[in-house]
Symmetry: C2
Subunit: 371 residues, 2 copies
């Protein structure tokens, strides 16, 4: 059985549905992966995620390496055992996190040195080491170490970083071959916002022995038009037989636009983060439950939603919980917002199967932005 | 059907089992009521409580009056509808909360004036008003307004306050009679730590038209021996045909000792509060998950426990969550600690039915304190 199979191709866009054959259970694409950075999708139990149909979440090597440490997770039989998650886990290498550290990290050709934000201790991540550690975690999909760069038009810097990411990708392929074992591995396309470099990175990563191709370094502060322009260009140059994964994108409109561009996988902290800030997705845009208009609104967060929260609780009640700083507000909003993205993707898949994705996309965006 | 029926009387202690016929569903006693002060048992969903077998929780008029306000709850069809809780709710009158305000409240013979901690606005609670408002909330068991006094041996002050509480109790009975409708009402015995006043209060409350008798003003900072001495004395003077309710007690040892003294009902914020501080009950005492010894402990919080948390998660994982300040640590610990008290009460009931409560009590306390 091949790792990835395209099932339907939409005739009105580049959108497609597919099937990922992962370690614990097959997963339909497009798929949104809730982010469980520190071995927990914030505010949700595993069973609340199962109830929503979630079969693939994301964990982060960098955070888990620092706390609680790989040794403890290994002792628990890997990340699945440690956090009691029975389905699939994709682990990020920590590239993005390390490069966000700024002053307290130093990039060398062999890898990246950084200081722990917890105790100031020094650490060194190499491409080989991050693959070894992700294998120890029992990751179902491992990500290579990459160099994320800030939003810049510096051609030379962008090229150098992309080149280093490609060298590291080669190292990762070698490491994975030596380690063997289960678990897929994805390469990461970088190249900033310079098309020439993007193309070079996309083609090179496509030629290497990866199970999937991630697109990194986008949605880092640039305009949405620029994101989508670079994304579309990148998609033209990657191997479309492999699944593609847009790292860190997950707002409803971005998700739908990227699905239309042919992307298969997504992750984002947004649905759980906005929940802790009192926001909720609806088909007609994001609402903030703090707003005084909801004080006696006995309707659900979203009329169209059938999540646990919308089936059981009102806007007025959730607003009261939020204003009272009750943990339950984060729980109920997180359930809703994660479920909302799952529901959105379900609708997108139906539209793809019916060859009407372009219409679905414009209809959704119109509703979402014009209310 | 009578409101309360004694089912078993233990021959080795004053402990007993009983049945409360409440509005939504009958409830076995002894019963521990998780505290849902602000219309939520902190960090738990209604369904997590149902799964534990919880059929009676506590809400607090004072907090709900200030936020979100009685009008909004009424519009939602009462507190059950507002918070989507399908079983029973006992509501506290707010006496204890108002009297904890110190400087910003003033006791008069007609009631108590206080300032809102939220916006500084002035409010006045009378015995009649708190019963009316609890009726509007749709409370299954309402509590009268009482005057809680700090730990003191001032005879005159204690007597005056107890006298006022009795006058207010009379007012409450009249108010309830006029309002009619469903919902039981409990009187509250006060009298501080002066036995003569306690007896007077206990006898007077017992003679009034209440469905149950609460014991207030204990466990307010005094030694446990003094609590139990005053409790035992009070129990001798209340009407034992009615259910008795020790307000605000819920640590495992206190619970068992008070059950042994004949108390039927309990509430306490402790199990959810200690959860947010990283503590867990076990049969061998309270543990704190922060402790370094648990860093790679893959066992459950308690070997003997069969709660969702103990069935699914390890000490090492919960410690990691707690150290990482993840909301899930509060959720998992709250599930465990509430379930632990439910389990403890289940065991107590079995001991009562088998006429071996005294042995159970000393065995439990010995295990709990000597490890």
């Amino acid at each position: 059985m091949s790792f990835f199979k395209v099932i339907n191709k939409d005739k009105t866009s580049n959108a497609r549905t597919g099937l990922l054959s992962l370690g614990k259970m097959s997963v339909d694409t497009p798929v949104f992966m809730p982010v469980g950075t520190k071995a927990t999708v914030k505010a949700l139990t595993a069973h609340q995620l199962y109830d929503m149909g979630c079969k693939l979440i994301l964990g982060n090597l960098y955070h888990l390496y620092l706390q609680p440490g790989i040794d403890i997770i290994k002792k628990a039989g890997g990340l699945h055992g440690f956090m009691n998650w029975k389905y699939n886990i994709l682990t990020d290498s920590g590239g993005f996190q390390v490069f966000s550290l700024g002053d307290i990290r130093k990039v060398r050709d062999e890898g990246v040195e950084f200081k722990s934000v917890i105790d100031g201790s020094r650490h060194f991540f190499t491409p080989k080491k991050v693959i070894e550690m992700q294998s120890e975690l029992g990751s179902d999909i491992m990500m290579v170490l990459d160099e994320c760069i800030p939003f810049t038009d510096d051609h030379r810097y962008t090229s150098e970083a992309a080149k280093r990411t490609l060298d590291w990708a080669q190292e990762s392929v070698k490491a994975k071959r030596r380690i063997g074992g289960p678990g897929a591995m994805f390469g990461i396309v970088q190249g900033g916002f310079i098309k020439q470099v993007r193309r070079f990175s996309a083609c090179s990563i496509s030629e290497m022995d990866f199970d999937g191709i991630a697109i990194g370094g986008l949605s880092v502060g640039e305009d949405r038009d620029m994101t989508m322009d670079i994304l579309a260009y990148t998609m033209e140059h990657i191997d479309r037989k492999k699944p593609s994964y847009f790292m860190g994108l997950g707002d409803p409109i971005g998700l739908i636009e990227a699905i239309g561009a042919g992307v298969d996988m997504f992750d984002c902290v947004l649905p759980t983060r906005i929940s802790r800030n009192g926001s909720a997705y609806t088909d007609y845009g994001k609402i903030n439950i703090k707003n005084n208009r909801y004080r006696d609104d006995l309707g659900p967060l979203s009329q169209e939603c059938s999540c646990y929260t919308c089936n059981n609780y009102s806007r007025a009640y959730i607003r009261h919980l939020y204003k009272s700083r009750e943990i339950l507000s984060s729980i109920l909003l997180s359930i809703h917002n994660v479920y909302f993205l799952f529901g959105l993707i379900r609708k997108a898949k139906n539209a793809i199967r019916a060859n009407r994705f372009a219409g679905f996309q414009s209809g959704f965006i119109n509703n979402y932005t014009n209310h």
